[in-house]
Protein backbone atom coordinates (compact mmCIF):
# COMPACT_ATOMS: atom_id res chain seq x y z
CA UNK A 1 0.00 0.00 0.00
CA UNK A 2 2.49 2.62 1.14
CA UNK A 3 4.54 2.01 -1.98
CA UNK A 4 4.28 5.41 -3.59
CA UNK A 5 6.29 7.21 -0.89
CA UNK A 6 8.13 8.93 -3.69
CA UNK A 7 11.43 9.10 -1.85
CA UNK A 8 13.68 10.78 -4.39
CA UNK A 9 16.66 8.66 -3.40
CA UNK A 10 14.81 5.42 -3.91
CA UNK A 11 13.25 6.65 -7.12
CA UNK A 12 16.69 7.44 -8.39
CA UNK A 13 17.82 3.94 -7.50
CA UNK A 14 14.83 2.38 -9.20
CA UNK A 15 15.53 4.42 -12.28
CA UNK A 16 19.11 3.23 -12.43
CA UNK A 17 18.08 -0.34 -11.77
CA UNK A 18 15.62 -0.21 -14.64
CA UNK A 19 18.24 1.40 -16.86
CA UNK A 20 20.68 -1.41 -16.12
CA UNK A 21 18.15 -4.18 -16.62
CA UNK A 22 16.83 -2.75 -19.86
CA UNK A 23 20.32 -2.91 -21.27
CA UNK A 24 21.10 -6.24 -19.60
CA UNK A 25 18.23 -8.13 -21.21
CA UNK A 26 19.26 -6.93 -24.66
CA UNK A 27 22.90 -7.79 -24.15
CA UNK A 28 22.06 -11.17 -22.66
CA UNK A 29 19.76 -12.08 -25.54
CA UNK A 30 22.80 -11.86 -27.80
CA UNK A 31 25.80 -12.70 -25.62
CA UNK A 32 24.06 -14.78 -23.00
CA UNK A 33 23.71 -14.24 -19.28
CA UNK A 34 27.31 -15.33 -18.85
CA UNK A 35 28.32 -12.76 -21.42
CA UNK A 36 26.93 -10.04 -19.20
CA UNK A 37 29.86 -8.13 -17.77
CA UNK A 38 29.53 -5.65 -14.97
CA UNK A 39 32.33 -3.49 -16.29
CA UNK A 40 31.02 -3.52 -19.83
CA UNK A 41 27.50 -2.72 -18.73
CA UNK A 42 28.73 0.14 -16.55
CA UNK A 43 30.81 1.63 -19.35
CA UNK A 44 27.92 1.50 -21.81
CA UNK A 45 25.66 3.26 -19.33
CA UNK A 46 28.34 5.72 -18.19
CA UNK A 47 28.10 4.72 -14.56
CA UNK A 48 30.62 3.11 -12.24
CA UNK A 49 31.06 -0.62 -11.82
CA UNK A 50 30.69 -0.34 -8.06
CA UNK A 51 27.58 1.80 -8.34
CA UNK A 52 26.04 -0.73 -10.68
CA UNK A 53 26.76 -3.85 -8.71
CA UNK A 54 25.62 -2.17 -5.49
CA UNK A 55 22.10 -2.53 -6.83
CA UNK A 56 22.31 -6.28 -7.21
CA UNK A 57 24.94 -7.56 -4.81
CA UNK A 58 26.59 -10.04 -7.11
CA UNK A 59 26.71 -11.07 -10.72
CA UNK A 60 24.42 -14.02 -10.11
CA UNK A 61 21.85 -11.74 -8.55
CA UNK A 62 22.15 -9.47 -11.56
CA UNK A 63 21.54 -12.46 -13.80
CA UNK A 64 18.48 -13.47 -11.81
CA UNK A 65 17.15 -9.92 -11.94
CA UNK A 66 17.75 -9.94 -15.69
CA UNK A 67 15.70 -13.12 -16.04
CA UNK A 68 12.87 -11.51 -14.07
CA UNK A 69 13.04 -8.39 -16.21
CA UNK A 70 12.93 -10.45 -19.39
CA UNK A 71 9.98 -12.40 -18.03
CA UNK A 72 8.11 -9.15 -17.42
CA UNK A 73 8.77 -7.98 -20.98
CA UNK A 74 7.63 -11.35 -22.31
CA UNK A 75 4.47 -11.24 -20.22
CA UNK A 76 3.62 -7.77 -21.50
CA UNK A 77 4.36 -8.56 -25.13
CA UNK A 78 2.98 -12.07 -25.45
CA UNK A 79 0.81 -13.23 -22.58
CA UNK A 80 -1.22 -10.25 -21.46
CA UNK A 81 -2.56 -9.22 -24.88
CA UNK A 82 -3.61 -12.80 -25.51
CA UNK A 83 -5.53 -12.94 -22.25
CA UNK A 84 -7.82 -10.27 -23.70
CA UNK A 85 -9.14 -12.99 -25.97
CA UNK A 86 -11.87 -15.15 -24.43
CA UNK A 87 -10.69 -18.54 -23.27
CA UNK A 88 -10.71 -21.01 -26.14
CA UNK A 89 -9.00 -21.71 -29.40
CA UNK A 90 -8.74 -17.98 -30.16
CA UNK A 91 -6.65 -17.46 -27.07
CA UNK A 92 -4.36 -20.32 -28.00
CA UNK A 93 -3.90 -18.80 -31.45
CA UNK A 94 -3.27 -15.37 -29.94
CA UNK A 95 -0.56 -16.71 -27.64
CA UNK A 96 1.21 -18.45 -30.50
CA UNK A 97 0.90 -15.56 -32.93
CA UNK A 98 2.08 -13.07 -30.30
CA UNK A 99 5.06 -15.28 -29.64
CA UNK A 100 6.00 -15.36 -33.31
CA UNK A 101 5.80 -11.58 -33.49
CA UNK A 102 7.74 -11.23 -30.25
CA UNK A 103 10.46 -13.30 -31.86
CA UNK A 104 10.41 -11.95 -35.41
CA UNK A 105 10.05 -8.33 -34.34
CA UNK A 106 13.19 -8.85 -32.28
CA UNK A 107 11.73 -7.61 -29.06
CA UNK A 108 15.17 -8.71 -27.92
CA UNK A 109 17.93 -8.13 -30.44
CA UNK A 110 19.12 -11.71 -30.12
CA UNK A 111 15.69 -13.22 -30.69
CA UNK A 112 13.92 -14.96 -27.84
CA UNK A 113 15.77 -14.19 -24.62
CA UNK A 114 14.72 -17.45 -23.03
CA UNK A 115 15.75 -19.68 -25.90
CA UNK A 116 19.22 -18.16 -25.72
CA UNK A 117 19.49 -18.35 -21.94
CA UNK A 118 17.88 -21.74 -21.49
CA UNK A 119 20.36 -23.39 -23.83
CA UNK A 120 23.17 -21.62 -22.01
CA UNK A 121 22.26 -23.09 -18.64
CA UNK A 122 20.46 -26.28 -19.59
CA UNK A 123 23.49 -28.44 -18.89
CA UNK A 124 24.67 -27.14 -15.53
CA UNK A 125 23.13 -26.60 -12.11
CA UNK A 126 22.50 -23.38 -10.26
CA UNK A 127 19.98 -20.75 -9.34
CA UNK A 128 19.97 -19.17 -12.80
CA UNK A 129 19.20 -22.46 -14.45
CA UNK A 130 16.39 -23.13 -12.00
CA UNK A 131 14.88 -19.73 -12.71
CA UNK A 132 15.02 -20.33 -16.45
CA UNK A 133 13.54 -23.80 -16.11
CA UNK A 134 10.71 -22.35 -14.04
CA UNK A 135 9.90 -19.74 -16.70
CA UNK A 136 9.93 -22.44 -19.37
CA UNK A 137 7.58 -24.67 -17.42
CA UNK A 138 5.38 -21.66 -16.77
CA UNK A 139 5.14 -20.92 -20.49
CA UNK A 140 4.49 -24.47 -21.63
CA UNK A 141 2.07 -24.87 -18.74
CA UNK A 142 0.19 -21.80 -19.89
CA UNK A 143 -0.18 -23.21 -23.38
CA UNK A 144 -1.31 -26.53 -21.96
CA UNK A 145 -3.90 -24.96 -19.69
CA UNK A 146 -5.18 -22.75 -22.48
CA UNK A 147 -5.60 -25.81 -24.67
CA UNK A 148 -7.55 -27.52 -21.87
CA UNK A 149 -9.78 -24.46 -21.62
CA UNK A 150 -10.36 -24.65 -25.36
CA UNK A 151 -11.42 -28.27 -24.86
CA UNK A 152 -13.83 -27.21 -22.14
CA UNK A 153 -15.56 -24.76 -24.45
CA UNK A 154 -15.68 -27.40 -27.16
CA UNK A 155 -13.23 -25.83 -29.58
CA UNK A 156 -10.66 -28.60 -29.27
CA UNK A 157 -11.51 -32.26 -29.31
CA UNK A 158 -11.67 -33.85 -25.87
CA UNK A 159 -9.44 -36.76 -26.88
CA UNK A 160 -6.52 -34.45 -27.69
CA UNK A 161 -3.58 -34.79 -25.34
CA UNK A 162 -2.99 -31.23 -24.21
CA UNK A 163 0.57 -31.86 -23.06
CA UNK A 164 1.41 -33.47 -26.36
CA UNK A 165 -0.14 -30.64 -28.33
CA UNK A 166 1.63 -27.98 -26.25
CA UNK A 167 4.93 -29.74 -26.81
CA UNK A 168 4.51 -29.69 -30.57
CA UNK A 169 3.24 -26.13 -30.78
CA UNK A 170 6.06 -24.68 -28.72
CA UNK A 171 8.56 -26.77 -30.65
CA UNK A 172 7.56 -24.95 -33.84
CA UNK A 173 8.02 -21.60 -32.14
CA UNK A 174 11.48 -22.32 -30.82
CA UNK A 175 12.63 -23.80 -34.07
CA UNK A 176 11.49 -20.79 -36.08
CA UNK A 177 13.21 -18.45 -33.64
CA UNK A 178 16.57 -20.20 -33.90
CA UNK A 179 16.54 -20.77 -37.63
CA UNK A 180 15.49 -17.21 -38.42
CA UNK A 181 18.56 -16.01 -36.53
CA UNK A 182 20.86 -18.62 -37.97
CA UNK A 183 19.78 -18.30 -41.60
CA UNK A 184 19.13 -14.58 -41.43
CA UNK A 185 15.81 -15.24 -43.10
CA UNK A 186 12.27 -14.65 -41.90
CA UNK A 187 10.88 -17.40 -44.12
CA UNK A 188 10.97 -19.96 -41.35
CA UNK A 189 8.22 -18.11 -39.53
CA UNK A 190 5.91 -19.08 -42.36
CA UNK A 191 6.90 -22.69 -41.89
CA UNK A 192 6.00 -22.34 -38.23
CA UNK A 193 2.67 -20.67 -39.01
CA UNK A 194 1.79 -23.43 -41.45
CA UNK A 195 2.70 -26.08 -38.90
CA UNK A 196 0.74 -24.38 -36.13
CA UNK A 197 -2.37 -23.91 -38.28
CA UNK A 198 -2.31 -27.49 -39.48
CA UNK A 199 -1.83 -28.90 -36.03
CA UNK A 200 -4.68 -26.85 -34.61
CA UNK A 201 -6.99 -27.80 -37.48
CA UNK A 202 -6.31 -31.45 -36.75
CA UNK A 203 -7.37 -30.84 -33.16
CA UNK A 204 -10.67 -29.26 -34.09
CA UNK A 205 -13.82 -31.16 -33.16
Amino acid sequence: MSEQVADGRIRRGDRTRRLVLRRAVDVASVDGLEGLSIGGLATELSISKSGLIAHFGSKEQLQLATVRAARAIFATAVVEPALQEPAGLGRVRALLENWLEYSSDRRFPGGCFFARAAHEYAGRPGAVRDALAAVDEEWVGLITRTVVEAQQVGEVRADVDADQLAFELTAYLDSANLRSLLLGSAGVYDLARTALARRLEESAP
Copy 2:
Protein backbone atom coordinates in the same frame (compact mmCIF):
# COMPACT_ATOMS: atom_id res chain seq x y z
CA MET B 1 48.02 -40.94 -50.62
CA SER B 2 51.34 -40.68 -48.82
CA GLU B 3 49.47 -40.08 -45.55
CA GLN B 4 50.78 -42.99 -43.52
CA VAL B 5 54.37 -41.71 -43.33
CA ALA B 6 54.29 -42.49 -39.62
CA ASP B 7 56.48 -39.55 -38.71
CA GLY B 8 56.72 -39.91 -34.95
CA ARG B 9 56.64 -36.17 -34.38
CA ILE B 10 53.47 -35.68 -36.40
CA ARG B 11 51.84 -38.73 -34.84
CA ARG B 12 52.50 -37.24 -31.44
CA GLY B 13 50.95 -33.96 -32.55
CA ASP B 14 47.88 -35.67 -33.94
CA ARG B 15 47.45 -37.56 -30.73
CA THR B 16 47.55 -34.38 -28.69
CA ARG B 17 45.19 -32.62 -31.06
CA ARG B 18 42.70 -35.44 -30.78
CA LEU B 19 43.07 -35.43 -26.99
CA VAL B 20 42.33 -31.73 -26.87
CA LEU B 21 39.35 -31.89 -29.20
CA ARG B 22 37.81 -34.87 -27.47
CA ARG B 23 37.75 -32.88 -24.25
CA ALA B 24 36.81 -29.64 -26.00
CA VAL B 25 33.59 -30.95 -27.52
CA ASP B 26 32.42 -32.23 -24.15
CA VAL B 27 33.25 -29.02 -22.36
CA ALA B 28 31.66 -26.90 -25.08
CA SER B 29 28.45 -28.91 -25.05
CA VAL B 30 27.97 -27.79 -21.46
CA ASP B 31 29.73 -24.43 -21.17
CA GLY B 32 29.54 -23.35 -24.79
CA LEU B 33 32.29 -22.62 -27.27
CA GLU B 34 32.88 -19.31 -25.54
CA GLY B 35 33.22 -21.17 -22.27
CA LEU B 36 36.15 -23.07 -23.68
CA SER B 37 39.26 -21.77 -21.95
CA ILE B 38 42.72 -22.58 -23.15
CA GLY B 39 44.16 -22.53 -19.66
CA GLY B 40 41.39 -24.66 -18.24
CA LEU B 41 41.66 -27.17 -21.04
CA ALA B 42 45.42 -27.36 -20.65
CA THR B 43 45.19 -27.91 -16.91
CA GLU B 44 42.63 -30.69 -17.28
CA LEU B 45 44.84 -32.44 -19.83
CA SER B 46 48.07 -31.77 -17.92
CA ILE B 47 49.69 -29.98 -20.81
CA SER B 48 50.85 -26.42 -21.19
CA LYS B 49 48.69 -23.59 -22.45
CA SER B 50 51.26 -22.65 -25.06
CA GLY B 51 51.67 -26.20 -26.25
CA LEU B 52 47.92 -26.51 -26.62
CA ILE B 53 47.32 -23.30 -28.52
CA ALA B 54 50.27 -24.01 -30.79
CA HIS B 55 48.12 -26.68 -32.40
CA PHE B 56 45.35 -24.30 -33.34
CA GLY B 57 46.84 -20.84 -33.59
CA SER B 58 44.10 -18.98 -31.83
CA LYS B 59 41.03 -19.54 -29.73
CA GLU B 60 38.74 -19.00 -32.69
CA GLN B 61 40.60 -21.65 -34.67
CA LEU B 62 40.24 -23.97 -31.70
CA GLN B 63 36.51 -23.29 -31.68
CA LEU B 64 36.26 -24.03 -35.39
CA ALA B 65 38.22 -27.24 -34.95
CA THR B 66 35.89 -28.17 -32.10
CA VAL B 67 32.87 -27.66 -34.35
CA ARG B 68 34.44 -29.92 -36.97
CA ALA B 69 35.22 -32.57 -34.37
CA ALA B 70 31.66 -32.45 -33.06
CA ARG B 71 30.34 -32.73 -36.60
CA ALA B 72 32.42 -35.87 -37.12
CA ILE B 73 31.05 -37.43 -33.93
CA PHE B 74 27.53 -36.54 -35.00
CA ALA B 75 28.05 -38.02 -38.43
CA THR B 76 29.31 -41.26 -36.94
CA ALA B 77 26.58 -41.56 -34.35
CA VAL B 78 23.56 -40.37 -36.29
CA VAL B 79 24.02 -40.11 -40.03
CA GLU B 80 26.22 -43.00 -41.07
CA PRO B 81 24.26 -45.78 -39.37
CA ALA B 82 21.06 -44.44 -40.92
CA LEU B 83 22.60 -44.50 -44.38
CA GLN B 84 22.77 -48.29 -44.01
CA GLU B 85 19.01 -48.26 -44.38
CA PRO B 86 17.74 -48.22 -47.95
CA ALA B 87 16.53 -44.84 -49.11
CA GLY B 88 12.92 -44.28 -48.13
CA LEU B 89 10.78 -43.81 -45.10
CA GLY B 90 12.89 -46.27 -43.12
CA ARG B 91 15.93 -44.08 -43.56
CA VAL B 92 14.01 -41.02 -42.42
CA ARG B 93 12.90 -42.91 -39.33
CA ALA B 94 16.43 -44.12 -38.68
CA LEU B 95 17.86 -40.61 -38.85
CA LEU B 96 15.29 -39.29 -36.41
CA GLU B 97 15.56 -42.20 -34.00
CA ASN B 98 19.35 -42.07 -34.08
CA TRP B 99 19.17 -38.38 -33.28
CA LEU B 100 16.95 -38.98 -30.28
CA GLU B 101 19.35 -41.58 -28.97
CA TYR B 102 22.32 -39.35 -29.69
CA SER B 103 20.65 -36.73 -27.53
CA SER B 104 19.17 -38.87 -24.76
CA ASP B 105 22.26 -41.06 -24.43
CA ARG B 106 24.20 -37.83 -23.87
CA ARG B 107 26.77 -38.51 -26.51
CA PHE B 108 27.81 -35.06 -25.35
CA PRO B 109 27.35 -34.42 -21.64
CA GLY B 110 25.44 -31.21 -22.31
CA GLY B 111 23.04 -32.78 -24.78
CA CYS B 112 23.22 -31.91 -28.45
CA PHE B 113 26.43 -29.98 -29.05
CA PHE B 114 24.94 -28.06 -31.96
CA ALA B 115 21.81 -26.96 -30.16
CA ARG B 116 23.97 -25.49 -27.43
CA ALA B 117 26.45 -23.85 -29.80
CA ALA B 118 23.94 -22.62 -32.38
CA HIS B 119 21.99 -20.70 -29.77
CA GLU B 120 25.23 -19.27 -28.46
CA TYR B 121 26.20 -17.76 -31.79
CA ALA B 122 22.85 -17.29 -33.50
CA GLY B 123 22.72 -13.59 -32.70
CA ARG B 124 26.20 -12.44 -33.64
CA PRO B 125 28.38 -12.60 -36.72
CA GLY B 126 31.66 -14.43 -37.22
CA ALA B 127 33.33 -17.50 -38.59
CA VAL B 128 32.12 -19.75 -35.78
CA ARG B 129 28.53 -18.76 -36.35
CA ASP B 130 28.88 -19.38 -40.07
CA ALA B 131 30.29 -22.83 -39.43
CA LEU B 132 27.43 -23.69 -37.09
CA ALA B 133 24.84 -22.36 -39.52
CA ALA B 134 26.38 -24.50 -42.24
CA VAL B 135 26.16 -27.66 -40.13
CA ASP B 136 22.54 -26.86 -39.29
CA GLU B 137 21.63 -26.37 -42.93
CA GLU B 138 23.46 -29.55 -43.78
CA TRP B 139 21.42 -31.51 -41.24
CA VAL B 140 18.04 -30.07 -42.16
CA GLY B 141 18.97 -30.47 -45.82
CA LEU B 142 19.76 -34.12 -45.25
CA ILE B 143 16.35 -34.71 -43.69
CA THR B 144 14.69 -32.86 -46.55
CA ARG B 145 16.51 -34.83 -49.22
CA THR B 146 15.79 -38.09 -47.46
CA VAL B 147 12.11 -37.21 -47.40
CA VAL B 148 12.23 -36.46 -51.11
CA GLU B 149 13.84 -39.85 -51.68
CA ALA B 150 11.04 -41.45 -49.71
CA GLN B 151 8.58 -39.71 -51.97
CA GLN B 152 10.40 -41.05 -55.02
CA VAL B 153 10.03 -44.61 -53.79
CA GLY B 154 6.38 -43.97 -53.02
CA GLU B 155 6.57 -44.15 -49.24
CA VAL B 156 5.65 -40.53 -48.71
CA ARG B 157 2.86 -38.78 -50.54
CA ALA B 158 4.00 -36.65 -53.47
CA ASP B 159 2.01 -33.62 -52.34
CA VAL B 160 3.91 -33.40 -49.05
CA ASP B 161 6.12 -30.32 -48.74
CA ALA B 162 9.48 -31.81 -47.84
CA ASP B 163 10.88 -28.55 -46.44
CA GLN B 164 7.82 -28.12 -44.28
CA LEU B 165 7.99 -31.68 -43.03
CA ALA B 166 11.70 -31.44 -42.28
CA PHE B 167 11.10 -28.24 -40.33
CA GLU B 168 8.52 -29.89 -38.14
CA LEU B 169 10.44 -33.12 -37.58
CA THR B 170 13.64 -31.37 -36.55
CA ALA B 171 11.65 -29.02 -34.34
CA TYR B 172 10.48 -31.99 -32.28
CA LEU B 173 14.04 -33.21 -31.90
CA ASP B 174 15.45 -29.90 -30.70
CA SER B 175 12.60 -29.33 -28.33
CA ALA B 176 12.99 -32.73 -26.72
CA ASN B 177 16.73 -32.19 -26.36
CA LEU B 178 16.36 -28.87 -24.56
CA ARG B 179 13.46 -29.83 -22.33
CA SER B 180 15.06 -33.10 -21.25
CA LEU B 181 18.03 -31.10 -20.01
CA LEU B 182 15.98 -28.35 -18.45
CA LEU B 183 13.47 -30.57 -16.68
CA GLY B 184 15.93 -33.34 -15.91
CA SER B 185 13.38 -35.79 -17.27
CA ALA B 186 13.55 -38.17 -20.21
CA GLY B 187 9.78 -38.15 -20.65
CA VAL B 188 9.90 -35.46 -23.31
CA TYR B 189 11.56 -37.90 -25.69
CA ASP B 190 8.33 -39.86 -25.71
CA LEU B 191 6.46 -36.71 -26.63
CA ALA B 192 8.88 -36.26 -29.50
CA ARG B 193 8.51 -39.88 -30.62
CA THR B 194 4.75 -39.60 -30.59
CA ALA B 195 4.90 -36.37 -32.58
CA LEU B 196 7.33 -37.84 -35.11
CA ALA B 197 5.33 -41.01 -35.61
CA ARG B 198 2.08 -39.12 -36.04
CA ARG B 199 3.55 -36.65 -38.49
CA LEU B 200 5.05 -39.42 -40.60
CA GLU B 201 1.82 -41.41 -40.59
CA GLU B 202 0.01 -38.37 -41.90
CA SER B 203 2.49 -38.22 -44.75
CA ALA B 204 1.98 -41.81 -45.78
CA PRO B 205 0.38 -42.44 -49.16
